[in-house]
Amino acid sequence: MSGHATRRKRLATVWLAGCSGCHMSFLDLDSWLIELAQQADVVYSPIGSDQKEFPSDVDIVLVEGGVANTDNLELLMQVRSNSKVLVSFGDCAITANIPGMRNMLQGSDPVLRRAYLELADGSAQLPDAPGIVPDLLDQVLPVHALVPVDVYLPGCPPSAARIRAVLEPLLNDQQPQLRGSDQIRFG
């Protein structure tokens, strides 16, 4: 490891089915973001990079959100195969949380019908644009239900302090140890 320890980390953040609140909380790291930028390159992120394709050789990736549609699933598979440490970032990624509430309707079809037909005001039609609008999966799933996860960072959203408690050890090739109400409480 010593040969790699000094190499700048390649950091990515990904936004699946979530409200982006976890990313907003990431921005709450404020001045520590400057320290972070000295130790890592942000190679893919909706808030820190204009890169459109998920790159290879990513050291640390924060994945926000549940997995709700075919785009989320495809990106997640790419993220997992291109990244060393995958952090399940926030309650939606860990529990499906609010996006997962649609699972209680038992399937994507009842959800689409409710939203686009029953509640429509005059222009009722189901979305149908193959290749443009991704299909909903039958259930919104937590990230670890689909790919192995290395670190769990709960919270809705996790506070900036929690995010830092995960990133600091990872930047030094150490496994974060979160415990106690300040670090692992859901919600």
Binding site: I94, T95, G100, M104, L105, A145, C156, I184, F186, G187
Partner: protein, 238 residues
């Protein structure tokens, strides 16, 4: 009063014969997590979180319903018990629909607190996302079955303390749920005195005041203890 002596986590403890193991554990200064238990209500061992290991017994026992015996050797926090407790909490989270972020009890929830205590940063069990409903027929209170863990505190407090016996557990297996009257809308059950004791002892956001928004529900189990104390000793002024 006869006394029982036992050993809890390598410490000698003497308690009154007939005490429960949970009482003995607490008097020894140890602590086991509890959820369905509430001082003042009869114990039912529904949640199984207070399970402890007894020397010479392969099966763990629920401390809240086990009577102390002379010479018992009790372990309250072995790795096996810690693992079982975390799994139990994961089962409670995955069995219902617990969305902490938008819950009335967020920040004041005993289930949420216990998840922290057992170190649950994710569930290793798959979420079931069951289809459950709410009962908002009562004029002041609501019941959201999604958040109910069937601890039966509401059933017991209504029966044993209020004497109204509005609540019961209906159906079987995964369809088990708390029912009002004979599975009627809560608001249609005449026996309900609208005292709110069930809401005050509910450990999650399942029972709530209708005005409560997210994070606004505060449980008040201490009011129950004050009432029981007052009734027992006829002392109504604090």
């Amino acid at each position: 009063m006869s006394i029982c002596t036992l050993r809890i986590d390598e410490r000698d403890v003497a308690v009154a014969a007939g005490s429960t193991l949970l009482e003995a554990i607490r008097s020894a200064g140890s602590s086991v997590p509890t959820l369905c238990h509430l001082d003042g209500l009869s114990p039912v061992a529904a949640c199984r979180l207070c399970m402890v290991e007894l020397h010479g017994s392969a099966r763990p026992v629920a401390a809240c319903v086990t009577t102390v015996q002379e010479g018992m050797q009790v372990h309250t926090a072995t790795p096996r018990l810690e693992e079982m407790r975390r799994t139990l909490i994961e089962m409670l989270f995955t069995e219902g629909n617990h969305v902490c972020a938008i819950c009335v009890a967020n920040g004041n929830c005993e289930l949420q607190n216990l998840a922290v205590r057992v170190g649950m940063d994710h569930s290793r069990l798959p979420y079931r996302f069951p289809q459950r409903n709410q009962d908002l027929s009562h004029k002041r209170f609501g019941l959201d079955h999604n958040r109910c863990i069937l601890c039966t505190r509401c059933v017991r407090v209504c029966d044993e303390v209020e004497g109204a016996h509005v609540w019961d557990v209906g159906w079987r297996g995964e369809h088990c749920q708390i029912i009002a009257g004979l599975a009627e809308p809560w608001g249609a059950v005449d026996a309900c005195t609208s005292c709110g004791k069930c809401v005050e002892v509910c450990p999650t956001g399942a029972l709530f005041h209708k005005g409560d928004s997210s994070e606004e529900k505060q449980g008040h189990p201490e009011r129950l203890q004050a009432l029981i104390e007052a009734r027992q000793h006829q002392r109504w002024q604090p």
